[in-house]
Symmetry: C2
Subunit: 419 residues, 2 copies
């Protein structure tokens, strides 16, 4: 296709935000412009917003090289995201007709969607519909998720920065725990995201090094969690050490599949005003430990910061996210559709990786978990194989652009109305 | 006193750990060495450890310039701290006799204690006892507390780094909140440390800038907290904006002095196993908001990270902490006793500040709160006067020394036995 024939591109973000998803957006924009596309539209809140006619012209937002650099350093999702799942084509053809009408009106050639499993499902369905109806619009997915649970790719952009933040923060938490003496010792329980996949919780092991023991135990959702064994292990650990740090996934569950957090909320705790009181996994475990062992405890949830901490981003991650965005755009430009870009690792040390495109039908809705043999036999730690895998992904920093002592992000003009 | 007559120095850390307290330790060590003292001992777990004969020779730990740089970047308290409060001299003279016996055995000339209000009480009592008994040992306090609640000093080392971390993190939390659309809007409640003083919670306002609205409301413990008014305000804010972020101090309380966190725990929530379930301030408020407004909520506790996040330290803070450590040592060397070093601000812009020594009797146990006129009339935000005050304290960064993608700290050899 000659350059003058090229029309427009639209790009969207979907699913949970990350510290790297905007770097992919910057990559898509840059490559689209480099390859001669006229306009690059951004869907506001993904496909859901697009269906409501909400989109922006990205060239009004990324006006300078500095804007692009700020965008790479801006956490969350610049365009807003959604958790909208497209119906199957046979169930609701109307939705597809609406989307394609909007895309045709905008003279779209390429549709890039940055997201996780659900987003790849969207790419799959839209590319299928295009084939069925003879549309020439190309649909390509760009991987993103802190959960690192997408199939076929070595890892997902967003994971490295989250892992770096978790390793750094857990190390600081461990050190903080040393400071004060407690009569009966203390146990700090750090709750980390990941409902089904333990990649993030495993990253707590990155705190281990010549200057730090790392967490004393790590519990991933890949294995069943046994509360009695957990209490027993904590008791034993406290005999040897006065400050214990345990990393647990929010998704740990008993053998019958009940989440630990559900146990905490099983009874209807209602306060004096009739409000139901909810508790988290870490808090629940701390309450048990306090009661059973009588030690001091503290529940620490890393919460949304683990996906939003751009100030502690991994350079490898931010650059790969940018590269993957560009690769998705390149693939669509060169005629690929129904594909997702994946990262292929060529070598651990020195770390080398490249991108490829894979058929999205092979990816969608398939969840990649931490392999059993990367978890120790007793299920309370990760192995060196995991560390060899994750270490390259957290290397290097992206210095925030500081203004008045605080990291600057790319502003979204009129975001109140937009988002 | 001629150089050859100088004997030894002992230094301790006390109270809550911070990201800057070790920089003060490095400052004390350096100045003591520069001024010709023979040994610099470090008390393990402050005066409490000293009473048990626990101390180290710091020259075995800070062996190189690199060690000193690592120490400045190491969070928590390198020596461990305590919350030990000395009895009054008339109540228990024996404790004082023990301490002075240990100090004489170690041939101590200068005793430096880095800490907050309780630590300054220690300096006061020990210096009083020295005067009573004719001991020539000098006792000087070096201020430290993230709470920023020490009297007479413009601010305390440790506060600036905590404020920078809070401003940065709240900004990332706000941005994260934009990403996903919610049907009825969402309210994120961020819980920040500070039982009586709101300096830390007020720092959430640092997230406000050209690219961020900042939190939508800020509640400090200096004022009474009215739950009904809070719910009403949240309802109103949700009409205008779909993602609301509220910063609350852990110490907010009702008019009768009941902590909000106590309200959450007033009823005996007991789970199926008979464990009492505790809840925090933010979680309790979220439960109320969910019930009263029906919106999505999320409770986020910044927890110990706000005092331990060396990876996001303020350069002004770390350098001032170092300087104040040196100034305390200098004062003791030059004959001062019963004194604390304070920071005096000479100018906001450009920021200029210097150190002075003040009589510790005027400082101990006096709590400095956020002035009423630095809080808005309706009590739900801070004023520009506060921002002018805090802004200089968060300027500049201290790049962590990264090893394998994670900040390196100064190792404590044999810390398991030591701490």
């Amino acid at each position: 296709m000659s350059k003058k024939d090229k029309r427009n591109v639209i790009v969207g973000q979907s699913g949970g935000p990350t510290a790297a998803i905007n770097s992919s957006l910057a990559g898509v924009y840059r490559t689209a412009k480099d390859r001669g596309y006229k306009k690059v539209y951004g869907m506001i809140h993904g496909i859901q917003g697009l269906l409501e006619g909400r989109y922006i012209d990205l060239s009004e937002h990324i006006r300078t090289g500095l804007d692009a650099e700020l965008l790479k350093r801006t956490p969350s999702a610049y365009l807003g995201t959604c958790r909208y799942k497209l119906p199957s084509i046979s169930d609701d053809r109307g939705v597809y007709e609406n989307i394609f009408k909007i895309l045709e009106d905008l003279q779209i050639d390429c549709f890039i969607y940055i997201g996780g499993n659900d987003s790849m499902d969207t790419i799959k369905k839209l590319s299928d519909y295009a084939i069925i109806t003879g549309s020439e619009i190309r649909f390509v997915g760009c991987p993103k998720t802190i959960d690192n649970d997408l199939a076929l790719t070595d890892h997902t952009p967003g994971y490295g920065s989250a892992a770096k933040y978790i390793g750094t923060s857990v190390k600081e938490i461990i050190r903080d725990g040393w400071a004060l003496e407690t009569t009966n010792g203390q146990i700090l329980v750090v709750e980390i995201m990941g409902r089904n996949a333990g990649w993030l919780t495993a990253a707590a092991a990155l705190s281990k090094g010549e200057d730090c023991d790392g967490p004393d135990a790590i519990y991933l959702p890949e294995l069943d969690f046994d509360i009695d064994k957990f209490v027993k292990k904590c008791k034993e650990m406290l005999k040897k050490k006065r400050s214990i740090v345990v990393a647990v996934s929010e998704g740990i569950h008993t053998k019958d599949g009940t989440y630990i957090s559900e146990l905490g909320n099983a009874t209807e705790y209602v306060d004096a005003f009739g409000h139901k009181q909810l508790t988290g996994t870490a808090r629940y475990l701390c309450n048990i430990l306090s009661a059973e062992i009588g030690c001091k405890t503290r529940a620490i949830e890393l919460s949304t910061l683990q996906r939003a901490a751009s100030h502690c981003a991994s350079r490898v991650d931010i650059l790969e996210a940018y590269e993957v965005g560009g690769a998705a755009m390149k693939a669509a430009d060169e005629g690929d559709t129904g594909k997702m870009v994946v990262i292929q690792r060529l070598s651990d040390d020195p770390y080398q990786a490249g991108t490829e495109v894979k058929d999205v039908h092979k990816i969608a809705n398939d969840e990649r978990l931490v392999p059993r043999d990367w978890i120790t036999k007793d299920g309370t730690y990760v192995t060196n194989e995991f560390l060899t895998y994750v270490r390259p992904l957290i290397q290097g920093d992206v210095a925030p652009i500081m203004v008045d002592g605080i990291p600057r992000h790319l502003y979204v003009p009129g975001y109140q109305e937009l988002l």
